[in-house]
């Protein structure tokens, strides 16, 4: 129980098309995260699944049954709202009981379910308070509790952590992961925080402008992004992109940028074509000798455990993260290397053509 299938889902408000041809199969018990930039349609897609918005095309089915015309209440889903949407005039207990009373559930069972949820979420001592008398984190738990007591087929969560401070967000994130492990129900979780997505998801759905860009496990998306957008969106800080044209001569392959800088590639893919090379900041290392490529340091962020270097090279801004603490300061010229790094090659339309692994000794020559 708890599989959800979306087939060619469309949603438009009048002339505004918000969702285009969404196809997605969510398995039972899966933790699915929708990520994407603001306004890409994550909330809309979640609300479509919830039944709060009617689709304008396509088919939505839950457990193999078409539910396009089934009301939100009868879909057996529970939603946790970003604003929590707790009833301000009811106590925590009444908030938890409200949905169950609607269904005409016997009092004893309501009490039992509420007690169970309260224990699980450790909100027992607040049961007789109103939402206004709770902290943000406590309210958040109550909102989750209100979903849990209904024992839904699937949980829908729309940016449930976005109103919490950074520390609480990390701990609550872990609790949600634990909750999923315990309940084993399907969860669909919307966020624009890619760290949340990476840590929580079984599979991530990356969306842009109402379309799904890629669906896959967090590491799939990290290691084999389908396109430049996903590559830039997944991973923090985001991937460096160097643009240029492919050249091959005498068995060596390289990318030549507009400035004439050259980046060596272990193999050629499509000679002559303008492409983009993607290189993660974590895969760039400092080279002690001058075998790397030269870069001008623009800003150094010392985080203690690692050092984030903002530099310029290849005619663009480049971000590098190197472990430990380094004596580098703004204005220095340093030598960086991409030895042993995966390079992602994207064609002009942004699609990934290949990911190639560099070896030692591939350093650019300056022409």
């Amino acid at each position: 129980m708890g599989s959800i299938t979306l087939t060619n889902i469309q949603k438009s408000y009048g002339a505004v098309h918000v969702l285009h041809d969404i196809n997605l199969a969510i398995n039972e018990g899966e933790f699915i995260v929708f990520v994407g930039p603001s306004g890409c349609g994550k909330s809309t897609l979640l609300r479509v699944i919830a039944g709060l918005e009617k689709v304008t095309g396509g088919e939505l089915s839950i457990n193999g049954e078409r539910v396009n015309d089934v009301s939100a209440a009868d879909r057996g889903l529970a939603m946790v709202f970003q604003s929590y949407a707790l009833y301000p005039h009811m106590t925590v207990r009444q908030n938890l009981a409200f949905g169950l009373e609607n269904a005409g559930m016997p009092k004893a069972e309501i009490t039992q379910r509420i007690g169970e949820a309260a224990r699980m979420l450790e909100i027992e001592q607040y049961m007789d308070r109103r939402p206004g008398q709770l902290s943000g984190g406590q309210r958040q738990r109550v909102a989750i509790g209100r979903a849990i007591v209904r024992r839904p087929t699937a949980f829908l969560l729309d940016e449930p952590l976005s109103n919490l401070d950074a520390e609480l967000r990390v701990s609550t994130r872990a609790e949600i992961a634990a909750l999923h492990a315990r309940l084993r129900s399907t969860m669909i979780y919307v966020t624009h925080d890619q760290v949340e997505a990476m840590t929580l998801a079984n599979r991530i759905v990356v969306m842009r402008a109402g379309r799904i860009e890629q669906v896959g496990t967090p590491l799939d998306l990290y290691n084999q992004p389908a396109n430049r957008f996903v590559a830039g969106f997944i991973g923090a800080p985001h991937m460096n992109f160097i643009e240029g044209a492919l050249e091959s001569s005498n068995g060596t392959h390289m990318l030549r940028t507009a400035q004439g800088d050259v980046l060596h590639l272990p193999q050629s893919v499509a000679p002559g074509a303008p492409i983009t090379v993607g290189l993660r900041p974590q895969h760039i290392s400092l080279s002690n000798d001058q075998s790397g490529f030269a870069a001008q340091v623009q800003l150094v962020e010392a985080l203690g455990s690692e050092t984030v270097i903002h530099a310029s090279a290849f005619g663009t801004k480049l971000l590098a993260i190197v472990p430990g603490q380094r004596r580098i300061s703004t204005g220095d010229t340093i030598y960086l290397s991409y030895a042993n790094a995966p390079l992602h090659l994207f064609d002009q339309s942004g699609l990934r053509i290949a990911t190639v692994q560099t070896e030692d000794g591939h350093s650019p020559t300056f022409v």
Binding site: L52, S71, A72, A73, M79, A85, P88, H89, F98, R150
Partner: protein, 348 residues
């Protein structure tokens, strides 16, 4: 900072646009600048608290002359007798006027009272307040609930319901008089259907109902607007949460909408009560208090006792208006209390 400043045109080049706002504001700045120096001096002398008193003084003066003073004079009048107009020519009678008003064999039967018109007016006003406020709030609430939905031409309907509020009460009274009188619109419309013309406003029950109905029609828009604002302040996601839970519409209304609307509703009820107690102008134009005394209300009684009846009895009218004032004070205190409670709730 407040001195007028004109940016000189850049050397050699003409600025394509004149900065009109600074031109327009220049005289304002000039006048403000004139007041600057004396105010500064004053503040040095009087201090910040003194300045507050200085700025409040004109308002307090107006309030004192036109509100406070009349109340005091009214109180004094209520303790005098005779038909003379000037206080100096009136005799002091203590609480005689009040005693006269309260001189009844049975308070339930106005006819057993010395001032039977007063008690008739009190009774009429009581029933008017009960009926008018109940129905007014009910209709306003229903209208607000409907207007709060996704509705075709919603702004138009909102305007339609608010429009009567903008009319002068006399106009309201006249409009309905033209509709309800013997040669009025209602009879004109009913005649082709085979109804004989009826003198609606000479029917005691109908006249009272018309008084209630017309005043509801005239004031409903105002209360609808307040309730609508209250409804729109209820977060939409609460309704979505309720929808996800499969809550029935009636239960949504009783358990979510109504409790969350309660602060607004209380304010609206008390405001409506205060205004209903004072009912006068539109009903007076419509029925003149008749037929008989069936739509005679307190304000009309006071007006007629003090200004129309011969001999004029300003003392008795003043006493009656003091009594009515007491009722209004109580209602106002209730309203202020509610307002304060809501404020505290907001702080929590």
């Amino acid at each position: 900072m407040s001195s007028p400043s004109h940016t000189p045109p850049r050397t050699g080049q003409l600025k394509p646009k004149t900065d009109w706002s600074s031109v327009v504001l220049a005289p304002v700045h000039f006048i403000m600048g004139l007041a600057d120096r004396p105010l500064r001096l004053l503040q040095k002398r009087a201090g910040i608290g003194g300045m507050a008193a200085f700025f409040l003084a004109p308002n307090m003066l107006i309030f004192g002359v036109f509100v406070l003073l009349p109340i005091i004079i009214n109180l004094i009048y209520s303790m005098t007798g005779g038909s003379a107009l000037f206080l100096s020519e009136r005799s002091f009678v203590g609480t005689d006027q009040y005693a006269k008003l309260f001189d009844c064999k049975s308070y339930l039967d106005p006819m057993s009272c010395q001032e039977d018109a007063f008690w008739t007016a009190v009774g009429n006003t009581f029933w008017f307040v009960v009926l008018q406020v109940t129905l007014l709030i009910l209709f306003s609430l229903i209208t607000a609930l409907i207007l709060n939905r996704e509705l075709m031409a919603r702004s138009f309907w909102r305007a339609v319901f608010f429009f009567p509020v903008l009319l002068s009460p006399v106009v309201v009274g006249l409009i309905w008089k033209w509709i309800l009188q013997r040669q009025g619109l209602l009879n004109f419309a009913l005649y082709p259907m085979g109804f004989e013309p009826y003198t609606w406003l000479s029917d005691r029950t109908f006249a009272f109902a018309a008084a209630v109905g017309v005043s509801i029609w005239a004031h409903m828009g105002f209360y609808t607007l307040i309730l609508l604002a209250g409804l729109q302040a209820i977060p939409k996601d609460l309704y979505e949460a309720a929808e996800m839970d499969g809550t029935k519409p009636a239960r949504i209304f009783w358990r979510i909408t109504l409790p969350l609307l309660m602060p607004n509703l209380l304010v609206v009820v008390v405001l409506a009560l205060i205004r209903a107690v004072q009912v006068f102008d539109e009903v007076f134009v419509l029925t003149g208090g008749g037929p008989g005394t069936s739509t005679l209300f307190l304000t009309q009684y006071i007006y007629e006792t003090g200004f129309v009846s011969q001999p004029r009895n300003a003392g008795l009218a003043a006493a009656a208006s003091i009594l009515m004032g007491l009722v209004l004070v109580v209602l106002t205190l209730v309203q202020l209390g509610i307002g304060r409670k809501n404020e505290n709730k907001g702080k929590r």
